[in-house]
């Protein structure tokens, strides 16, 4: 499985309140949530994002609330993968549970710039910045988590 798209770059400590503000949590509709994704940090994001694009951020991405609406909004906006230096732990669980691919790679997270074309090979964890030609190796998931992903998410892995 692979992803390829344009990078949308963010900094440290991107919290779930800016990923999807609480004023929109009165719905669980994926489409409505996607329409407000990243609104309080980049109001043009929803107009610029294209299907398959890649989100890149630095440390502690997704900190704050446990709202699963955050990875749902990102996935429904068309983002195919999030690369970050580190993820906040509830966001990490939620992304795996709903099938939003995420990769931890500090070097890639710091060096990739908005607008770069980035490709990701999920089997090997190799990230390629096609704009600069540089490649990076992301941390592989533990086998236990790989199994959840292979089975199509947490619920399918237990039912």
């Amino acid at each position: 499985m692979n992803a390829k798209g344009t990078a949308h770059k963010f900094g440290d400590n991107v919290d779930t309140d800016v990923i999807i503000p609480a004023r929109y949590l009165n719905t669980a509709s994926h489409k409505e949530l996607a329409a407000h994704c990243m609104e309080d940090i980049d109001k043009d994001f929803v107009n610029n994002v294209k299907e398959g694009d890649i989100m890149v951020a630095e440390k502690n991405f997704g900190c704050g609330s446990s709202r699963e609406h955050a990875p749902i909004a990102i996935k429904a906006s068309g983002i195919s993968c999030v690369i970050a230096s580190t993820f906040a732990r509830i966001f990490y669980r939620n992304a795996i549970n709903i099938g939003l691919p995420i990769l931890e790679c500090d070097e890639a997270a710091k060096e990739i710039k908005s607008g770069d074309t980035v490709s990701v090979n999920f089997d090997t964890g190799v990230i390629t910045n096609e704009t600069t030609g540089k490649t990076y190796q992301a941390e592989p998931f533990p086998e236990f988590i790989q199994n959840i992903i292979k089975k199509g998410g947490l619920i399918k892995s237990i039912t």
């Binding site: 400590n13 919290d15 309140d17 800016v18 503000p21 609480a22 004023r23 949590l25 009165n26 719905t27 669980a28 309080d40 940090i41 440390k59 502690n60 900190c63 704050g64 609330s65 446990s66 709202r67 699963e68 609406h69 990875p71 749902i72 580190t86 906040a88 732990r89 509830i90 669980r93 939620n94 549970n97 709903i98 533990p142 236990f144 998410g153 947490l154 619920i155 399918k156 237990i158 039912t159």
Partner: protein, 422 residues
Amino acid sequence: MGMTMSQKILAAHAGLDEVKAGQLIEAKLDMVLGNDVTSPVAINVFEENGATAVFDNTKIAMIMDHFTPNKDIKAATQVKQTREFAHKYDIKNYKDVGQMGIEHALLPEMGLVGPGCLCIGADSHTCTYGALGAFSTGVGSTDMAAGMISGKAWFKVPSAIKFNLIGKPQGYVSGKDVILHIIGKIGVDGALYKSMEFVGEGIKYLNIDDRLCIANMAIEAGAKNGIFPVDDVTREYCNGRYQGTPVEYTADEDAVYDEEYTIDLSELKPTVAFPHLPENTKTVDEIGEKEVKIDQCVIGSCTNGRISDLRAAANILKGRKIADNVRCIILPGTQKIWLEAMHEGLFDIFVEAGAVVSTPTCGPCLGGHMGILAAGEKAISTTNRNFVGRMGHVDSEVYLASPAVAAASAVTGYITDPAKLN
């Protein structure tokens, strides 16, 4: 190798004699929690996957607290969906307007969580119950759905940071100042994926509300959980209240910690977190007398909406007036706290000072309702997050503080050290 308190609780619930940091385990759950924002997503996952039964209808709590009393039609629709699910599966601890309170004030009060229990909640502040010697952590809605179906969850066993609390807090220093100080020291990802274990002779000076406040904000340092050992303060609170069987865990003497900090509570000062991260802390004496002008004061939330917090605010507001052009909104955490505050005469003090008292709700803490900020406005708040746009407009600001500092600031209209009030 020795185990931490958190590791012992996880091992016991996984049926293992020993666990190690980094190990992936599956553990049995004593309580699965959701609210009016996260339960509907969990119910959708539950139903879309064809589940037809819950693992135990007494071990699930659905507390309608975030946008209730329902703030709009969409919020009402989400609560209706949750109410119908709760009725269909006979969920015993479904709590709506009239019985509900802010979930993390309500569950300890009702005795649904207690020493040694393992709880997951689809709300990040579920880590609050570590104050009672429980292992308790926030998860998302899919984990909540899986927990409701199977009664189990997977965990990566966390390593831990030990906070050795010594000394007695002085003056207006409360649990809120302790945790803001710690977050200021280690940062918003200082405990990422880890347990924060609070021990030491200083904890005997922290009442149960202080401890609930400290454990509540462990997530603001990125922690998986925060936990206190069980002592007489815990036992007095939980005896006759906790519906389960309490089990007391202490860390082994040779338990391994990634880091250890000693915090002298007697040296702490009232502390404020400036926008837009809880780690941006200053002590009140570092803030100029008229440096930060406020438009609103919020006293409440799962962090500071308990009776001790309301008493601390009333102690400041008694015989004083809220400054002109400041809105002071007080939100008791539960119906029981509301009644207690009313009987003690705290509402007379609040209303005579010019504050308003709300029904229990998370409300303004997450920018839901009951006190939203306009562009350019600033609030001092006893809540837990000061992220961009957290209480309203993206160009508003939230300053986090204790009830005493918030109340003193409401009186002067500027962020103020309560010790300096006339």
